[in-house]
Every structure is written in structure tokens, then in C-alpha cells.
């Protein structure tokens, strides 16, 4: 398995190169110039030219890409133009926040999604099922900036349970996690429900009943386990959301994070930061799918294949 893991990782290298190239091109083709955002009222065109040269923006795109890639291979993500720090330090500064918010939100939507989804599946077509699914549908029709604001109004302004914004302690994490998490819950719950209903009709489940096992145990120990497989695939692909998907929520709750960093830098055309962030996301996504595969393999012997 280890050798397999290594092989899969090595296979990611060309993908990675292609991705880095795409990312680089995309960013540089967007109109806009970071230097415009850098120069101050009153500075001269010469100063602008100097700055442009300083950041290598006067070279051809190919040259710029090669330079960037070379640095990258040395583990250097470059220096932010507007934010004036090493990109790596910006990323390491923001990553923990994204991980905390995204990770917990993912956990939340996974746990709540699976629980509600399986409840809905077990009590299929009952009032409980309809109620749960309706609630989830309702939750997913509210854009996240509204949901966030709503949460603040209810839980912070009215009830005063949580701080309005910020990222100082776990307290301030609750509302953002709920906001991001609720969006994902719908997806997980739906997939879980559909998968469970599907699996429950399989022959082996009938046989489990025929063995005299308690229905609840069958649902939880056997059916759910199978239903988790598609959920895992989806979660693996969702790593992207963990790191970058919470932009609106980050803005509403005034939290730092990779998403916000990315969007702000994109707006200011701070190329190195955007490149760095997108690359991070791409890597995370690749790792996410990889991890998803590994978990799949751990759960499902068929995927695992004949490992000697």
C-alpha cells in the first residue's frame, strides 16, 4: 500500500505541473496591474517602471513562469507585491484559520449530514424524513452571506451567545462553522439518504434481516457503512471548499483565511499570492482525492484489491 501511495503521489507531478501552468496563465491574462495598486498619488512613471522591473513583470510570460517554477521547486513561493511579505508566510498565517473553519465545518456537515441523512433514510417517507429534508432544503436556499448575517442577528445580537466576528477564540468559530457547515450538510444528507435507501434494497440486507439482526443495527452497522462510500468520495473532492470556499463567510465574520486572502489578492492582482493560494488549493484537492481513495480502499476491500 505504501508503494502504491508513493506511486500515486509521483503520478500527481505532471498534473501538478499542468495545474501550475494553467494557474499562472489565468492570473496573468486577467486585465489589471498590481503596480497600479502599489503606486501612490504623486509618484512618477519612472517609479512605476522601476517597480515593474523589480517584480519582473516586464519580462515575457514564459520567462516569468520559468522563474516562478524554479523558485517553486526550491520551495519558494515568492514575495507578495502588495502585501510585501513572503507568500509562504501569508499562507502559513492564514492556513490555520481556513483549516479550523473549513475542517470543523466539514466535520459538522459530515456528522450532521450523515445523521440526518440516515435518519431520513431509516424513517423513509415518514414525517420525520420529510421534515428533515425540507429543513435542509430551506437551509441550502439561503446564500451564505445572508445566512451569516442572520446567524449574527439571532445568536450574537439577540441572544448574545457568541461574538459577532473575529477569530480570537473557539467561541468566535461557532457561527462561521455553522454557516459554512449548514451549506454542506444538505449535500451530505442527500447523498447519504439516497445511498442508504439504495443499499437497503440490496439482497444482502434482506439476508441480514433473515439472520434475525435488529433492523436498527442493520441500518447503522451495515447499510450506513456502504452509504458512506459515495459520501467519502464527495468529501475528498470537497477539500477545495474547506480551504477556499468560505470567502463570503470569512468576510461577513471578519475572519482571516485563504479564501479572503485569495480574493483580496486577486482584486489587487497580487500575482504571487494568488498563484500561491491557487496552488495550495490545487495541491489540497489532489491530496483530498488521494485521501478519499485511501479511505475508500480502507473501507471497501473490493477497491483495495488483492494486496498480498
Amino acid at each position: 500500500m505504501l508503494s502504491f501511495a508513493v506511486r500515486r503521489l509521483v503520478m500527481l507531478v505532471p498534473v501538478f505541473l499542468a495545474v501550475s501552468m494553467i494557474i499562472f496563465l489565468i492570473i496573468h491574462l486577467i486585465p489589471g496591474d498590481p503596480i497600479d495598486n502599489l503606486i501612490r498619488t504623486g509618484s512618477t512613471p519612472e517609479q512605476k517602471a522601476i517597480l515593474t522591473a523589480k517584480y519582473g513583470l516586464d519580462r515575457s510570460l514564459v520567462e516569468q513562469y520559468v522563474i516562478w517554477l524554479k523558485k517553486l521547486l526550491n520551495g519558494d513561493l515568492g514575495e507578495a507585491i502588495i502585501l510585501r511579505r513572503p507568500v509562504s508566510s501569508l499562507i502559513t498565517q492564514n492556513l490555520p484559520y481556513s483549516l479550523a473553519l473549513g475542517g470543523l465545518a466539514l466535520l459538522f456537515s459530515t456528522v450532521v449530514g450523515i445523521v440526518t441523512g440516515s435518519l431520513a433514510a431509516i424513517y423513509k417517507d415518514s414525517a420525520l424524513d420529510r421534515g428533515v429534508m425540507a429543513l435542509i432544503l430551506l437551509g441550502s436556499t439561503v446564500p451564505s452571506f445572508w445566512l451569516g448575517l442572520l446567524m449574527i442577528l439571532v445568536f450574537s445580537v439577540q441572544l448574545g451567545w457568541f461574538p459577532v466576528s473575529g477569530a480570537r477564540n473557539w467561541h468566535s468559530l461557532v457561527l462561521p462553522v455553522l454557516t459554512v457547515g449548514l451549506g454542506g450538510t444538505a449535500l451530505v444528507a442527500r447523498v447519504t439518504r439516497v445511498a442508504m435507501v439504495d443499499v437497503a434494497q440490496k439482497d444482502f440486507v434482506t439476508l441480514l434481516h433473515a439472520k434475525g439482526l435488529a433492523p436498527l443495527r442493520i441500518q447503522l452497522r451495515h447499510v450506513l457503512r456502504h452509504a458512506l462510500l459515495p459520501v467519502i468520495t464527495i468529501l475528498g473532492l470537497r477539500i477545495g471548499w474547506i480551504l477556499g470556499g468560505a470567502v463570503t463567510v470569512e468576510i461577513v465574520f471578519a475572519r482571516p483565511g485563504l479564501g479572503t486572502l485569495l480574493i483580496k489578492s486577486l482584486n489587487q492582482r497580487d500575482y504571487p499570492v494568488v498563484q500561491g493560494c491557487l496552488l495550495m488549493l490545487a495541491i489540497a484537492v489532489m491530496l483530498g482525492t488521494f485521501l478519499g481513495d485511501l479511505i475508500q480502499a480502507a473501507v471497501d476491500p473490493r477497491v483495495r484489491g488483492n494486496l498480498k
Binding site: D203, T206, A210, K211, G212, R225, V299, P301, R302
Partner: protein
Amino acid sequence: MALLSVRDLSITIGRMQPLDRISFDLGKGEILGVVGESGSGKSLTAMSVMGLLPLIRGRITSGQVLFDGIDLTRLKEKEYRALRGRRIALITQNPMTSLDPVLTVGSQIDQVSRLHLGLVPAEAKARSIDLMQQLRISEAEVVHDQYPHQLSGGMKQRIVIAMALAADPDLIIADEPTTALDVTIQAQIMQILVELVRDRGLALMLITHDMGVVAQTCDRVVVLYAGRVAERNTVTEIFAAPQHPYTRALIGCIPRTASQPGSLTGIPGMVPSVLDYPSGCRFHPRCALAQAVCCDTVPPLEPVGVGGLTGCGLAACHFAGESAPAKGMRHG
């Protein structure tokens, strides 16, 4: 007294009534064949006896299922569960899909003896391995820890049988246990089942649509057609002197090497859908003997005794025993 006695069992699923007054008996050490075309209600009969109808939102509307004197239809779910797998075991049609693909086959057998016999894991494992060996699975210890996808169909079916046997049941319901298997493997499995019944005194309800299997293994036969019993008799009489035109037609459908080309008779038309069963005798649209009465009146299941062999045969036909050549299907 019979171990299992189904009396006038009728069930509904939604608005459909797929089984209508099914009755039959099955004694210890006996093999009862349940035959009929696809959709005639064989599997539902098995599900009813297993008490698994709720899974498919079905319900018993009338009749009794007496097992060892207990009326199963009145049993509480919990009591039923104690019985299921313990005294009545099920073998399903398709071994490929009957095992949980993510668990080792051994653990799936162990589950039964641990649940019903209260064995500790080690004991359960030993018992399972022992069972597997009895079913002539070579290298049972290794197989115990393998996953279903690593086994061949025949092996899997034997695992399912081992599962059924794990708590020493009195009654096994085998729903087409060999249809998904190759002929050579099918023979192997059938032989194992027959031996089990003979050696352990089990009762086996064998659901199949293969008249050959019935002929070779069963003691008695129930022929189902469109949710009703068409005929019931001992295996010898069914084959020697089928009373119901449907039974006769079924037997005529089997190709025999010795027969001449064109000698094969089919049954014209098709099995009616549960949504619109014909009135009267449900076989009448396909029956060569059908008369006006067949369309209106449901023929009761009555004793027939042509030649008076045993006198326990029953058939549901207004013209039982009358021989007219079953209408063979020939293209025009």
C-alpha cells in the same frame, strides 16, 4: 404434524394482492418444491414465512403461517427476530449479491451463531470453520478471512448456506439457490442441500423454476401460478400425472435430447401482471382447455386422485385431469 403449515395465506403490497390463499405443508426431513414462472409469487411466499414483508411494505391480510404449532402471523417483531436465523433460515437466489461485500465471509457466518447461540468470537469462528468444512470448502480457515469478491459464485453460495446452518435451524427456505450458478456447480450445491436435509432431518422449502431440479430432489411440489396454488402433489404424481393444464405445460417445456426438433411445447401468452390478473382461473387466457366457466369462476383447490396413487394431490382447475394436448406455440 407438519413443521410448517401455510394456510390460506394472502398478502397485499400497496394496492396489489400478489398472493391469494396460498396453502401448503412441509414436514421435517422433507423437501418441498415451490415452482412457477417468474412473478408467480414464489419469493413473496418465502418472504411471508420469514416475516420480512414489512421490508417491502407488504402485509399479510389473511391466513396463517404455522411453524411448529406457533402462528407466525401473530408473533411480535422481537419474537420473530429470535426465530429468524435461529429456527428458520433463508438462502437467497443470488450468491453474488447476498453477502455484504465489505465484511469477511467468516464474520458474516460468525454473526449468526454469536447472535443466536451466544457464542464468543473464538467459538463462533471455530463453529463457522467447522461448518464450512462440512460444506466441503477447502482451506476453510483461509476462506474464513476472505472477502466475498475473492470467492467464486459456488463458494459464496456455500457460505450463504453455512450462514443459514450456523444456528442449527429446523427449516431452511432456499429461494432459487442455484439459478445464478453454473450447471456443474449447481449440481454440487443441490447435492449438498439434499444431503443436509437427509442427514440432519431439516425441512427444506426449495423455490425454483427448474422442473428438472424439482424432479431430482423434491418430495412434494407446490405449483404456483399468478399468486395462487395451481396444483399440489407428491413429486412422482406431479410428473407422472400432472392434473393442472399449467403443470402439464410446464413439464412440456423442458427440452430433452431424445426428443425430435419441434417437439418442444411452450405456453402461449405471458404471465399476467399482478396489476391485472384475469378473472376466474388466472390461467384461462393461456389454457387450451379453457371454457366459459374458467373465465368467471375461481376454481377451488380440490383433491384430485386420478389413479388414486396417494390421494393427497390437489389442483385448482375446473377440468383437472382432463387431457387435451397443451396448446403448443408455433410460429405462423
